[in-house]
Symmetry: C2
Subunit: 338 residues, 2 copies
């Protein structure tokens, strides 16, 4: 790779306005702009994979949150896997593949200290955005710090075929729990049972979730890994056992709501001594390395299952975000940029 291979411009999605409800493609501007130059300690990467995740909806809003919103006119947030084109950092050289540069653009500059170099004998690079990356680490952190499933307990996972839910459920299975997944559509439900090995699956689009939970969780629910919110949250909540834990990872079904819906009455938290706790994976950055060390062998040997849903072409990133917010993805959603 020589300097001459670096184009003069990059493409980037910049935020045009803050959507009030559903996201539409015109929320973003696709612009062509001068190639940035890496500063001291930085590298320039060519984006290979762009991760699409439900949390991105929050970055479009200026409601107070754990992270700053993307400013109007700013490059949209997102994690990438990229190939190093230029390096001003001693640990990186052109040709290295790294995870960590952030932004919806075809080329990024990023501080080398923030990046992880994917080893050539590691798992496939895209997995460092999914099963081995932020979503997998989220599942690991949520189950380790909050869910703590035990052998014989009943664990329910929503968005169970997704990047986070699929790992959360497999971790609960490894702990010896009985695991029920909730997902939309027969295909995902088959996958949850046949490939992920969960003990049961509920297609929330086809059946009454409450009745299905009664049938599949006759002893109540001990751990709920919450990704969706909405009516599913209420149905699971009212079946939580004494000392039940609710890992509050996300509520994707409500992200487009202009006004918050009512939550469950909390008297059950007192009566049943429930613990409801929220989780943002970046609060414990040490979990990322822990999880990569723990799970890379599982991914390479095939004992930890994952599924990727790949959209080709950088220009399709906005539609991919719209799709994931509607649950139309099946597995970890990725945009293949190059």
């Amino acid at each position: 790779m020589t300097m001459s291979a670096i184009p003069a411009t990059r493409r980037a999605f910049r935020l045009r306005y803050r959507p009030k409800g559903a996201v539409t493609p015109d929320v973003f501007d696709l612009v062509e702009e001068p190639m940035p130059t890496p500063g001291p300690g930085e590298v320039l990467t060519r984006t290979l994979w762009l991760s699409i995740d439900p949390y991105m909806r929050g970055r479009l809003s200026d409601a107070k949150s754990y992270a700053e919103p993307v400013p109007i006119g700013g490059v949209m947030e997102g994690e990438t896997v990229g190939e190093v084109l230029l390096s001003n950092h001693p640990r990186f050289a052109p040709g290295d593949v790294v995870v960590g540069p952030r932004g919806w653009t075809t080329h990024l500059t990023a501080p080398g200290d923030m990046l992880y170099k994917i080893p050539p004998d590691g798992a496939p690079p895209s997995t460092y955005l999914g099963v081995l990356g932020m979503p997998g680490t989220t599942a690991y952190s949520g189950m380790t710090d909050i869910g703590q499933p035990k052998a014989g307990e009943t664990v329910v996972i929503s968005a169970a075929a997704g990047a986070v839910g699929s790992v959360a459920g497999q971790l609960a299975k490894r702990a010896g729990a009985r695991v029920i997944g909730i997902a939309g559509g027969a295909e995902k439900c088959l996958y949850i049972q046949d490939t992920l090995g969960f003990d049961g699956a509920i297609d929330y689009r086809a059946v009454d979730v409450g009745a299905a939970l009664d049938e599949l969780c006759p002893n109540g629910i001990d751990v709920y890994f919450e990704n969706v919110g909405g009516d599913i949250q209420h149905q699971v909540f009212r079946r939580l056992n004494p000392f039940g834990r609710m890992v509050m990872c996300g509520m994707v079904a409500e992200y487009n709501d202009p006004e918050p819906r009512p939550g469950p009455n909390l008297m059950r938290v007192v009566r049943n001594r429930l613990r409801i706790q929220g989780l943002i994976v970046s609060d414990k950055p040490e979990r990322f390395g822990e999880w990569r060390r723990l799970a890379t062998p599982w991914v390479k040997e095939g004992s930890l299952k994952y599924r990727e849903d790949v959209i080709d072409g950088f220009e399709n990133a906005p539609q991919a975000l719209i799709d994931i917010l509607a649950g139309r993805n099946f597995g970890k959603l990725l945009v293949r940029v190059a």
Copy 2:
């Protein structure tokens, strides 16, 4: 004390029916019935003090809860301090004063192993039902296991002049936190500030709670010790800081509701990584002894403040329960039986 001093009958309140909404006096039957005889390992006590606590509303309902409801026709539940009249247990002798016999009656039999003998040089016997007993231990356990207030944090306590809230707030003050109490009426609010030493008080009957919280908690709220539910819960919840904790001790304002009210939308739990956790003091019985050892010197030296609201006459117990559910007590509510 000789056998001849023991009357042939006792008086007892037995549950007549389960109230659907507000409690009325006719929920209980006052009956005169034969004096029970203590079995092996048991003692017979003459009730001196009967504790009246908001949790008792739950015992009238057959909704699934952590404790069995009082059966129709059964003696109403409640903790007492009593004087031992007869003892079949080696640790107790007539004349001993004990805390622990349970039931709304003038005389009780109880297993000696369940009782604590109040030392003659201890704090006043009634305090073992309040500041040193179940309510004080509840505050201690909630703050130790869930609230964990730190120096400089802002802590809000509802029902702050009550038996639990007053101790919870004083513990937060000892931890170096800034403490704001919520209570009904000017008199309680004066007490919270002048006697308990809290940093501020909000009279929820007189002011807009949300506006008052904004004024008194300009840096948001880190710990909420929840005793009341209702609109106060919503107002505090939406001001909880990142990593805020909500100690779910009770929701007395909703105990008479025939249908549950909506709770707060839980998206804030994700965004702010809140921890909402319920607490029943009997889950950790070791906390009772710990707290007595820790707090008895504080009570005797006067550094831990408490206030008792004493109703004279066993026959007034039902009205006392009605009053506490309406917040008409001021301090730990006790019925003086003898």
